[in-house]
Structure formats: C-alpha cells, structure tokens
C-alpha cells in the first residue's frame, strides 16, 4: 500500500514538473538582469513552455493551468490582468489541436509551428493592448520580443526534451 502511495506521490511530483518549470520561467522573466532595454523585450519563456508542453504532454498542461500561469505572468509584469491568460489559452488550444502534426516529426517543424503561432499571438497581443489602452503602442518592441523568443526556442525545447525523456517518460 505504502509503495503505491509513494508511487502515486512520485507520479504527482513528476507530473507537476511542466507546471513548476513554467512558474519558474515566468518568475525568471521579470528578474532584473541589467541589460539595457532587455526588460522590454524579454522573451516570453512561459509562452514557449506552454506551447511545448501543450504539444508533448497536453494532460500535464491543461487549460486551467494555462489560465493560472497567465494570471501569474500578469501579476508579475503588471500587464493588464487576463491578457496573458487569454494568450496562453490560445497557444494551448492551437498547439493541442495541431499536435499530431508536430509529434514525432523533425524539430524544425515544431520550430516552424512556433514561428507561425507566436507571430499570430504577438500581433494579437499588440491589438488587444492597443484596444486596452486606447492608443497605438509601438510595435517594434513586440516584434523584437517575438524574434528573441524564436531564437531561444530551440534551447528551451532542448531543455524540455531532456526533462521529458528523463523525468516524464512514464507519465
């Protein structure tokens, strides 16, 4: 009995890794680094994580978790509350519906998928932010952020892949 309990606990811990890692990434993205202008164009690490896990372990990165993660990022960054939740939910929905295309294919395809989805999300977030503040916001920082996210994506995907192979093989 105790063995099964320990097993269940182990499973639960391993299962919460995607969520925990995304929380950590959301926290890391607001830590002041001290690079000029970096604060504005910090890649959205949490969005990358949501995208990756929605493809590879959708049941460990469900819609409610995406919502909570979005709230967390908005609390951290001071962005309009609900904005990131909305965007993460969209990323999640698109990724889950298209995951058959990405699973088991070359990594480049996933990267390309992120290239498309993140672009849609960037433009959409810009439109929402403009509507929210009733002003035309500068588009450049958003595009730079998008480009940076795209650049760091392989690195994160590689790290997540390692985690997935070592910790989450059984889940």
């Amino acid at each position: 009995m105790s063995q099964t309990l320990a097993y269940q606990f182990n499973r639960l811990l391993r299962g919460s890794v995607p969520f925990a890692i995304t929380v950590l990434l959301a926290l890391m993205s607001v830590v002041p680094i001290g690079i000029s202008g970096y604060a504005i164009v910090t890649p959205s690490f949490a969005a990358i994580s949501v995208f990756y896990w929605s493809i590879h372990r959708p049941y460990l990165m469900g819609a409610p978790l995406c919502f909570v993660l979005g709230l967390l990022s908005d609390f951290l960054t001071g962005a309009p509350l609900g904005l990131s939740s909305f965007l993460y939910l969209l990323i999640h929905a698109i990724a889950v519906s298209q995951r058959r295309i990405f699973i088991g294919k070359a990594f480049v395809l996933t990267w390309f998928g992120y290239f498309l989805i993140a672009f849609i999300i960037a433009i959409l977030s810009w439109i929402i932010a403009c509507l929210y503040s009733l002003a035309i916001l500068p588009l450049t920082p958003i595009l730079v952020q998008y480009a940076l996210s795209l650049l760091v994506f392989p690195l994160f995907a590689w790290g997540f892949g390692m985690l997935q192979n070592n910790l989450l093989r059984l889940t």
């Binding site: 926290l27 002041p32 049941y59 409610p64 960054t77 001071g78 904005l83 500068p138 958003i142």
Partner: protein, 297 residues
Amino acid sequence: MAPRQGKVFKLAWPLKTIIQRSAFLALISLAIALLFLGKANIGVVEKMRTTATDFLAPILATISEPVDAFHKGVARVQKLTSLIEENERLREENARLLKWQAAGRTLEQENENFRQLLNALSDPLVLPITARVVGDSGGPFVRTLLLNAGRRDGVRVGQAVVAPLGLVGRIAEVGERSARVLLLTDLNSRIPVVMEKSRHKGILVGDNSSSPLLDFLPTNAKVAPGDRVVTSGDGGMLPAGRPIGFVSSVTERGIRVQAYADWTRLEYVSVLRYDLPGMSSPDMNPGDLGESRLDAK
C-alpha cells in the same frame, strides 16, 4: 495523469471532450472578463494584484539575489580593467566638485538668510525610503518596476520614485510589503514638470517609447535640445526641482525628453515620502514619522 484506456473511457470520450471544450471556453471568457474588469478600474482587481505581488515580491527578491551578485561581479571585473583611468578621472572630478561644494554652501547659507528676511516658508521635509527593485516589466506592454517595500514601510500611491541620477516614476499600486512603480516612460505616466531655466510648466507624457513626450507647454515657450527638465511639484505629490532629464529632440511632432535615470542599473531606488502640510491627507502620503517601520531604527 495519462488517460487510462478502457471501455468506460471510450464511452465517456465525447462527454470528456464536451467538458474540456466548455471549460476552455469558460476560461477564455473569464480572461476577457478580467480584462474588462481591470479596464473599468474595479477595486477587486487591484486588490488581487497587490495581494499577489505581496506574495511574489519576497520570492523574486530571493531569485534576484544571485543575479545581482553575478552582475556585481561582472561590473567589478570591468572596473578592474580601467582602474587607473577611473582613478584619474575621479580625482579631477573630486577637485571640481569640491569647488562646487564650497559654492553650494555659500549659496545655501545666502538662500537661508534671504528666506529668513522674507519670512518665506521652507519646503516640506522629504524622507526617502530605500527599496530594492525585485522585478522589471518583463514584457513589451507596460513599463513598471516591482519594489520590495510597501504600505508598512510608508509607501503610498503617487509618491515619486528616484534613482541616483533622476526621477524614475511614481508609485502606482501598493501592497502591504510590495509596490509597483509606473515608470515615466509608461503609456499611463503623466508627470508635472517645469523647464529648469525658463520656468515654463508642462506635463511629461509617457508613450511606452524610451523618451517621453513633453506636452502642454505654453505656446510661446522656447525649447532647445539640452534644456534641463525638473519636477514642478504641481499637484502636491512630488517634491519640486527634482531632476528628470533633458530635452533630446524638438520636432514638429513634439518635444522628446531623455531621462537621466540609468534604466539598466536600477537595483535600489528611493521612494520619496513627502508631505505638504494641510494639503495631502495622511492616508495618502504619511508625514507622521512614527508610522513607518523603517523609522523605528
């Protein structure tokens, strides 16, 4: 966690999809509702934000500790390479500043004498609260900072936040032990300013770009690049005469101001507790020294 494959599961599959879909839609609607509630400035949303930042600020403070240490180490190594030049430069600067100090002392005394002669009211006391920056905006939509000082330290909404070189912004939200600073570059930032020389008053309007717009100047005001811009103290929340920046460009589309503050090196900032006797309510801006936890020391 993995969906268990079985007969029951197969039967329940459509039901599960329906539940998942509706949950997804509910969450999307909730997110949109939150956006609207936030836009409507409902107190609940702000309360949620401040509670969350109160909880998150200590965690961020812990995480940023090693980053700060690393950053300091790098800066130290960088300084080591230019030690001699730096020393030479500082010596010269010190000699120059000593002259200025002498001049400043004389002027201060003279000013004090004139004040006494005219029986002029002196400026109210400004008390700085030093707070650590534990979070930056981390995204393109807002220009904010998160501080690890809050209401219990005497921080209130509206107070000025200054870095060593100049004004950074104002306090926008206050929790019990955390506060959010709206930087003067943020879209929602409006700061009453005055041109240091000509004494023309205006408003510094942030627009999410790196150099905010100087607006609402009188039409006859003459402005040239390089003119210094300081706080005017209008509105009673900010002390007058604090340096903000200099005019960087004057075009037909507007006057741009470059802030003095070094945005990359905001590790610690001062929140200015400032009280105009009889003008600000103690709840908004405490002048009572006994209240703050910091003053107990």
